[in-house]
């Protein structure tokens, strides 16, 4: 097992070195390599961009959905068993968010938070102060 671990570390070193070298390649060289791998740079680039956007939109969607239900979450998402989990600071209901499929579930998505949400400052409340 120890040999495996050492071997792993060496492979990791090789891959990290090669990954870093990709970042330092010129644009022309990067496109040429993509072509060698039978990839059309523009098409695969837009696909990659869409993948990045999907993750961003999914998490933002959950945050907004929870906010609409009056829940107050901090950014303390915990990664457990392949999914991110969080808890409403007021009512304690939970929400989880799966990587990859971006599926979300939990009590927090089913019901509104308690109305005594002291962390939320609505426009009217703020105006009264």
């Amino acid at each position: 097992m120890r040999n495996n671990k050492m071997s792993d570390e060496r492979v990791e070193r090789i891959l990290n070195y090669l990954a870093d070298s990709i970042l330092h390649e010129s644009d022309e060289s990067t496109f040429a390599e993509a072509k060698e791998m039978d990839a059309v740079a523009e098409t695969s680039a837009e696909y990659t961009r869409s993948k990045l956007r999907e993750a961003s939109q999914a998490l933002h969607g959950i945050n907004m959905r929870l906010a609409n239900l009056g829940h107050t979450l901090d950014s303390n998402w915990q990664y457990k068993g392949g999914e991110y989990q969080n808890t409403c600071l007021n009512c304690g209901s939970t929400v989880s968010f799966k990587r990859g499929s971006h599926q979300s579930q939990g009590d927090a998505l089913q019901a509104r938070c308690s109305p005594s949400n002291e962390y939320t400052t609505s426009r009217r409340d703020a105006s009264r102060k």
Partner: protein, 354 residues
Amino acid sequence: MAFLLSFIDNTPPRQTTETAEPYLPPRAIAGSPKSALLVEDDGVLSPFLKRRLKGEGYSVRTASNAEEGLRLYRDIGPFNVVVINYCVPRYKDHGIDPLAPQTNGIELAIAIRDIDPTQSIILAAFAFRTAAEVLRPPEVMDIPVLLDCSAFQLRSVLEKVEIDLAIKTLSTADLTRLRNVAILLIRGLGRAARGRDWEDLLDEAQCRTLIGAGNSQNGRHWNRNVPFVQHLAGAMKSIASLWRRQFREYEAYLVSELTVCDEEGQERSPIDSIPSDCTPADRRLIDKSEEERVFALFRDDEYARCILRGIVDGLQKHEIKLAYGLDEKKYAATMRRLRVRLMGRESKGQEYEK
């Protein structure tokens, strides 16, 4: 929509969606790396939001009505972000009719998008309970709505805006680099990938970046001084490393669970007792280390093996070149062969697994 913009739109737009120009970076204000324009009329909310934005590292310019907001935008825009109150009055000293539909904030957002289609905008709609209640035409449906001014909500929306902008402005070359890094790392994981592909690795890196927006302990905070592509590549490297460690622990657990002691106290695996004429393929895969397989790929490429040995020994580029007598051209060509072969090894006849 043009008639709605008549109150402010007297000068020709600097840029339209039909004639998209290269992305113009936001202008810094007073030496701060991030700038914001806040269009808010409320005497309490405006300084409150300004403080919050400053707390997030923005230098803030404020306007109390749509006309002033657009003038400021034309004069000193673009900004990293523009925060517009949905119910902002059109002109100075003009009130709003709370019973009439509010269009000034939306019109201002559209006018700004006409000037710069890439401008990040946030609509502050604190009088509403849900984003669905905030009526918007389709062209501005992508604009995030801020329903309360808690620090978390504001930070969450700002982070999304900044990350969205970073994604939007990634070049084709940068996106290709990201894809290549993800493919290389996932292929390098071999069995430790456990069925995950390069998209999973990229998705995980992006999720951790979003999670890490406010909490670097559970995610991966993006330091804005580092280019986004470099940040994501770094995130992918550490995730790949984590997956490798987890796989080793999982494998060690399985071995310990499977191993039993016989009557003589000898440790044996139940797999050993399965009769077989030859070593099973999966056993061969386990025995053969990942490292051996990487080197085996380049058994006929002496320069590639030299570079691999140099990397394993922890040498830097110039040391590798010096140690193995490689000039720049030879080094670059060999590195390219290494990358292409390792990235493409599974797609070209599964040669890596042989």
